[in-house]
Subunit: 474 residues, 2 copies
């Protein structure tokens, strides 16, 4: 790790990455390789002696990049975006550079303290209630992924109720969420040992635009109480994965509270839009929540927890080799007790640099601009009578489909699936799909930072062209 050697190679890598972004539109956005392609191109075992840096760079260009699906391409409209930014990239570099492991305060005080501070900054930017701040009985923590955020919250809630009713009662614990909730919660239930028959996946439909209905929740809770079960956890979502639906927090929160449930709000996708005043009302009711998680649109995954003690009681470990004065005297936070892993990077650097190098006003402008591009796309779809909008658009996701010819839903599903494959295999754009009320729906998610209006128009043109060809062949 010679500093001058590091300097020389890292400068070369910077140019490689900058050139990658410069030429990103020249690659097929969805990789067009076939399964197993890479094993044909690489040796069977690691080299005994070093390869040159230039050889490695050449291999990245010739062998790796063709197998990359370019999430940062301006033509990427699939799933939800995972955005890069210059500030985020610089923060990653610095975090990899200092390479500390901040599990306890003492292992790098700045890593812990900066995280506490920027989580408070974010809570304030979202106008979360004071209870969510570290100066209340809450505080935020950056988890590795949203899945882990949801898991640690479920575990905290599980252990809190089991401390009250005894651990044998785990077979009677009931979890509630809608059929639009992210799959990570079902995985968390499986990990946490919740009995599959006690997982209530409440049905939604187009009458509520795929939001969870408070009535169906109330009914399910009453039935379970009558059956001798113990309702203990509700997850509501702001911006579901399929269609960006928004569950009614206020009504759901009240039902949770009056029945003693832990109320979690998963705002993974849409939470970051709420830094704009015009979107903040979707968070109304968050004051009823025990916990809240979001992904920042630049893919900073964060978990705010307003029930700090329950979390720590579930996840704390105190091996003797990690004892130190600051921890023993409770003067500091040790984030290892707020997460699954022991080790953790200096993650807050990235968020801190993004907030400082852009400022809240620019970040709000960025959100508004992405939403505006989605609105543009929605207008284009609406003007073409062969298509329809499949769910109300609020944020930057448009759900749409080709209208099934002759009301033949089966044919409609087949057609839309074929349309998806047709456009994605061009490599000119990448969109994804979902199923709502048994209908195959196309998803157009605007969010990649390089996307401009021209990319939206080009994508729509390609969609129209492929649709025409498909309809003609019927």
């Amino acid at each position: 790790m010679d500093s001058e050697e590091l300097r020389e190679y890292a400068h070369k890598m910077v140019d490689f990455i900058a050139d990658y972004y410069k030429g990103i539109e020249t690659f097929p956005v969805l990789s067009q390789v076939q399964p197993g392609y890479l094993r044909e191109l690489l040796p069977d075992s690691a080299p005994a002696r070093p390869d040159s840096f230039q050889d490695v760079l050449d291999d990245i260009r010739d062998k790796i990049i063709p197998g990359v699906t370019h999430w940062q391409s301006p033509d990427y409209f699939a799933y939800y975006p995972s955005n890069s930014s210059i500030a985020g990239f610089l923060g990653e570099m610095l975090s990899a550079g200092v390479n500390v492991v901040g599990f306890s305060w003492i292992t790098s005080p700045a890593a812990t303290e900066l995280e506490t501070i920027v989580m408070d900054w974010l809570a304030k930017a979202l106008k979360l209630p004071d209870a969510f701040l570290s100066t209340g009985h809450g505080g935020g923590v950056i988890q590795g992924t949203a899945s882990e955020a949801v898991l640690v919250v479920l575990l905290a809630a599980r252990d809190k109720i089991l401390r009250k009713v005894g651990k044998d009662a785990i077979r009677r614990l009931v979890v509630y969420f809608s059929d639009q909730t992210h799959a990570s919660l079902q995985k968390a239930c499986k990990i946490g040992g919740i009995y599959p028959e006690n997982i209530r996946i409440l049905k939604t439909d187009s009458s509520t635009d795929y939001a969870l209905s408070p009535e169906s929740l109330s009914k399910a809770i009453s039935q379970d109480i009558t059956s001798g079960l113990i309702p203990f956890f509700l997850c509501a979502t702001i911006g579901t994965t399929s269609s960006a639906a928004v569950d009614p927090l206020l009504a759901l929160g009240k039902i949770s509270k009056s029945n003693g449930l832990w109320f979690h709000v998963d705002a993974a996708y849409a939470g970051s839009t709420c830094i704009c005043p015009e979107f903040r009302h979707y968070l109304d009711g968050v004051e009823e929540a025990d916990s809240f998680n979001m992904m920042l649109h630049k893919f900073f995954l964060t978990n705010f927890d307003c029930e700090r003690n329950a979390l720590i009681q579930s996840l704390s470990t105190k091996p003797v080799y990690l004892e130190n004065k600051a921890s023993e005297e409770n003067m500091v936070v040790d984030y290892k007790d707020w997460q699954i892993p022991l080790g953790r990077r200096f993650r807050s650097l990235k968020l801190w640099m993004v907030l400082r190098l852009y400022g809240l006003e620019n970040l709000q402008g960025y959100v508004r601009n992405r939403v505006e591009l989605a609105r543009t796309f929605e207008e284009l779809v609406k003007k073409d009578p062969r298509f329809e909008i499949s769910a109300t658009r609020i944020f930057s996701l448009v759900c749409f489909r080709l209208v099934p010819p002759h009301n033949d839903e089966e044919l409609g599903n087949k057609l839309n699936h074929e349309l998806l494959d047709a456009v994605n295999s061009t490599g000119k754009l990448f969109i994804s799909h979902t199923v709502l009320s048994s209908k195959y729906i196309l998803r157009f998610a605007v969010g990649a930072p390089l996307t401009e209006e021209r990319h939206v128009f080009a994508a729509w043109e390609m969609l129209q062209e492929k649709a025409s060809a498909l309809l003609k062949s019927l």
Copy 2:
């Protein structure tokens, strides 16, 4: 995300990081700040408008760096190392640069395929049995941390046995490990809902150099079976956290197999040394294991699993919005089903670049050199009659302490604790401690890549000097 702007700022960041390494010896290795120092220095909320890059760099230098404990300093001898390398850093940069989310094969085929390939490279470098290769019924996966590796393995084993005996039997499942096993396994048991009274933490002592005794395991299993419990999981360790002890894999594995236990081998610390033939014999018996995890010495956390199906059955999710042809036809691996989170970085790039840019022979040389430096330190300690070695040194960790004056163990513990504080507060070196057989022990872990013989000598000189002062004041 303008490519030229990225280039400009990233070049500046490279120089900042290279300068950091150039000057790393000028900082106190253990941060000397007091709890709460950073809140005094930073504003209460995020800025509305952007700050300049130079302002941010100045703040990193003046406010953040003083709160950093320098894990990459050549004077860092605490815990176990978390090493940087130029190749690792370049891999991190590139992974942050392309910024893909490789949860399914289709979301970036190269991310999945390169991981499968380099995990096989690693398995071959370690001479793991063929069953651990992806071409067997195994294959490796890079987890975020060793804690997650241990957790996913425990969950796979739990669900496998529960499928056989019914889920109500969870209250009868018994886990076995030694009192030297990493705390992450206890945390995993808590998460997985194993009953605390069914966790057998088997005592070790100096008679086996803190390795788990097969006899005590056999005895515990027999007793539990007699009581109607279900023994299902054993974890053995190669290089424990406190003293780098090595459990006897072969004997433990045979007991596991004959009793139907899942046998996991945690080689987090010492696994990477086994790329050297002279250390490989510590892994003998791994052929009995159902799963194996290690951290590469450059902090690549990896999990080899030889029981792929059980893992996937525990962790798989198949939401409709992630369906795609390659996955549905089982043509590919989707690593989301091998881990807790959904999202995952292009992690294999880093490992691939390390293996290629250094080559196995240099990596072996690196391991040998670290072990040799630890041997040098051990010799120094042995020559000073005021000190003693507290556990047999095998790898690059030396456990030692000041011999208690007048055989007064209580005084001995106090003195060694004071010696630790005295040397760490100088900022000239950072060591950590543990407790073995109720004795307070000092740990000197050699591993930071910049550490040379002169740093080891200087550390020992400082230890001697502070020890003399302490003993004089008695």
